[in-house]
């Protein structure tokens, strides 16, 4: 029995942290928010050098054969840095291909993913609730419709799109009948997009699993990694609040000596610490195919959304007015946590899915 990261995982965690500190310090985050692609490309390159592209791909397909716990560790560091980079969409895509693709499709696409020739975005948001009649229909003439809040589309060559029946298709990002546009978003560091399809040609994944299995796996993996991202972001906000409280003086004392401030910090730590174990456990359970794995991933997403919201506000509050300004950049983490809360389903929706998985609906 050993509930801890392996030495390899600790090394991976440290590498990711070091790399992101180097290529995504606060100034780089600011630049990315101002739509400078420089830091974005730098961070993507550095992460690729760590092996994130091949991480989840099975060894017999040219990958590293690592698991979602490894991915979660890296993603947590992205959140901690509020980095203009993440591995959410690529991880969803690989897992989606493994769940829904035929053997041939897996071999063909994953080889190109590993080489970097193909970069996959994911258009599955409607699986967690469709707004404004969004949704994609598949017909003999191709895919039509729209999907909003596509993840990972900024530099994607292809998009994995779920249709209304849950079948997953791959379309070329710049193919005919495909319109992919970035959305103006409150979290300016990452890119969210909308895809409009008009009889777009696509390749449907035709593996043996029932349709729906692929998109559900993608959503589950996405939720897990969003939870990991929030975990990292919330930890940074807590750490910064504690550091600020130890330094800022009011009424002749550091504010961290006031009981009200101390207890705010203690409440944040008490809420956040078990979340780390929860995310790890959910990731490990998915890797092992454990019974409660999907339930745990949903609950990790929902719980981190709640704890993250609490910490985003409380850590800002500890910073007083400074937390509200752009000067300290604290708002990048605040907004990231807020965005993670809503992506792939708000907490109520995700809890509902967890209830459904247990037959409680």
């Amino acid at each position: 029995m050993d509930f801890a990261l392996s030495d390899d995982q600790i090394a991976m965690q440290a590498s990711a942290k070091r790399v992101l500190e180097r290529c995504a310090p606060l100034e780089a985050v600011r630049k990315a928010a101002a739509r400078d692609r420089g830091p974005v490309n730098a961070a993507a390159g550095e992460l690729a050098a760590l092996g994130v592209r091949e991480m989840l791909v099975a060894t017999d397909l040219g990958g590293l054969g690592l698991g979602l716990l490894d991915a979660a560790i890296v993603q947590e560091q992205c959140g901690a840095a509020a980095a203009p980079a993440d591995i959410i969409a690529p991880s969803m895509a690989v897992e989606g291909l493994m769940a829904a693709g035929s053997r041939d499709q897996q071999a063909a696409w994953l080889a190109r993913v590993v080489s970097g020739e193909v970069r996959l975005a994911c258009a599955v948001a409607e699986r967690a609730g469709a707004r404004d009649d969004a949704g994609v229909r598949s017909s003999a003439s191709g895919l039509s419709g729209a999907s909003v809040f596509v993840l990972g589309a900024a530099d994607a060559t292809h998009v994995m799109v779920a249709d209304q029946d849950g079948r997953v298709h791959i379309v070329a990002a710049e193919g005919p009948g495909v319109g992919l546009r970035a959305l103006p978003a409150i979290d300016e560091v990452r890119v969210f997009s909308r895809i409009d399809l008009d009889n777009a040609r696509s390749e449907a994944l035709v593996g043996e699993n029932s349709p729906g299995r692929g998109v559900d796996r993608m959503v589950t993996v996405g939720r897990l990694l969003l939870a990991a991202d929030t975990l990292g972001a919330a930890q940074t906000m807590l750490d910064r609040a504690v550091a600020y409280a130890q330094e800022r003086k009011q009424f002749g004392r550091v504010i961290g000596s006031f009981q009200a401030v101390k207890h705010m910090c203690a409440e944040m730590a008490a809420e956040l610490e078990p979340c780390r174990s929860l995310v790890w456990h959910a990731a490990h359970a998915l890797d092992e195919g454990a019974d409660e794995a999907e339930v745990m991933a949903c609950l990790a997403k929902a719980h981190l959304a709640e704890v993250g919201t609490f910490i985003a506000r409380t850590a800002t509050e500890v910073h007083g007015g400074m937390g509200f300004t752009d000067l300290l950049g604290l708002h990048f983490w605040f907004k990231r946590i807020g965005a993670n809360r809503q992506l792939l389903g708000g907490p109520e929706r995700v809890r509902h899915d967890a209830a459904r998985l247990q037959g409680w609906v």
Partner: protein
């Protein structure tokens, strides 16, 4: 208990509504940008002339000259809420400085400053907070020494809204370095065009620069441009802050915000179902509605006590803490109801309500936490309202 208006007040309400209705076409809109757009100044003039703005300021100083009447003030506020027309100017100069000038200013100050301020021709900003003095305002460090007939000011202010647009500033400076913290502060009034003033916009989490930093380097201000006696500025500042409290936590604004949320939840759908039919979101909506009702009724209680010249006590002490939090909670539910669409910010066809929910969610947080406000409010409630002891070692705030 009788929530009806007297005949006199009912007549006043009809008058206000009639004036507003018949001048609807003169109201400025979002197209008329700039604090001093002629149309805005004309609207303010029209409101003053009809006794709907600056109502209780003496005519001699540019107001309407009616005796104070809490209920009339309330009727006016509700008339604007119900017609949706632009409210009278209510900037810091009008809401905080003018009442203080009328109470403590010299006759010359009143003669020269009140009228243009009321009419929107003279815009003020407030120089109170400093980077080192948030909740602990009295620890301010901007200094002014006397040189001939002038004060010479050096230091820095922060959280100064409208600094870039302002003609004038009312400003706290330390004039007696050796005096105890609350003594030795003076209250100066001077032009923002005075040499030596530098303004740096302070961008906040909303992406806009709602506030500024203001730097003073050897800024010379004639000694007569002081309000109150030298070294007595803390008392003057407290007089203005008393007027600030009234500005936050207006329950009719909260009610209006709540009704916009109701409209949003009836209109917006997920998977074709209106959000109002999502039992979880609806339950949160109803829980907030209870709070909205409670704060409205609490407001009626505060008004009644004011009408009766009774001390407002606890009902008034809780308004800011509860009102700001409630506003924020309404925005928070809207953000959750919008879901991913709440991440949009900026020009997009799918942006709802022009992004006001995203804006309010962040801006209100600034109101709650600015200078540790919620913490300070809890100290005030526990000490003034409940009679619990002051924090040992704490001073000020």
């Amino acid at each position: 208990m009788d929530l009806r208006l007297s005949a006199r007040h009912a007549a006043f309400r009809d008058h206000v509504l009639a004036v507003l209705d018949s001048n609807r076409d003169k109201a400025p809109t979002s197209e008329h940008r700039g604090l001093k757009h002629p149309r805005r100044l004309a609207w303010q003039r029209l409101l003053i002339e009809n006794g709907i703005a600056a109502r209780t300021v003496p005519e001699a100083y540019g107001g309407f000259g009616a005796p104070p009447d809490i209920l009339e003030a309330r009727i006016i506020a509700e008339a604007f809420a119900s017609t949706g027309l632009p409210r009278p100017l209510a900037n810091q100069g009008i809401s905080m400085l003018v009442p203080t000038l009328l109470e403590l200013g010299t006759e010359e100050q009143k003669q020269t400053l009140v009228r243009p301020t009321l009419h929107g021709e003279m815009v003020w900003c407030q120089g109170y907070s400093e980077p080192g003095s948030g909740s602990d305002l009295a620890s301010l460090a901007t200094r002014a020494h006397i040189d001939g007939d002038d004060y010479v000011i050096n230091g820095q202010k922060i959280w100064t809204s409208t600094a870039r647009e302002a003609d004038m500033i009312f400003c706290l400076v330390r004039t007696e370095a050796d005096a105890p913290k609350h003594k030795g502060i003076s209250y100066l009034l001077f032009s923002m065009a005075t040499p030596g003033i530098e303004i740096r916009p302070l961008v906040d989490m909303t992406g806009a620069a709602n506030f500024n930093e203001v730097f003073f380097t050897d800024v010379r201000v004639p000694r007569r441009q002081i309000m109150g006696a030298p070294g007595e500025g803390w008392a003057v500042a407290n007089a203005t802050l008393k007027h600030e409290r009234g500005m936050l936590g207006d329950p009719s604004a909260t009610k209006a915000r709540f009704m916009r949320l109701v409209a949003l939840m009836r209109r917006e759908t997920v998977d074709g179902m209106a959000l109002m039919h999502n039992p979880l979101l609806r339950d949160r909506l109803l829980a907030l509605q209870a709070r909205v009702f409670a704060m409205q009724a609490n407001g009626l209680r505060v008004t009644t006590r004011q009408l009766r010249n009774e001390p407002a006590g606890m009902p008034e002490l809780v308004v800011k803490l509860q009102g700001c939090e409630l506003n924020h909670e309404i925005a928070r539910l809207a953000i959750d109801a919008l879901g991913e669409l709440g991440l949009l910010y900026g020009d997009h066809p799918q942006l709802r309500d022009a992004g006001e929910w995203q804006q309010m969610y962040m801006y209100d947080l600034g109101l709650i936490i600015g200078g540790g406000t919620a913490q300070i409010q809890k100290n005030i409630i526990s000490e003034r309202g409940l009679g619990l002891p002051r924090e040992p070692r704490a001073s000020g705030g």
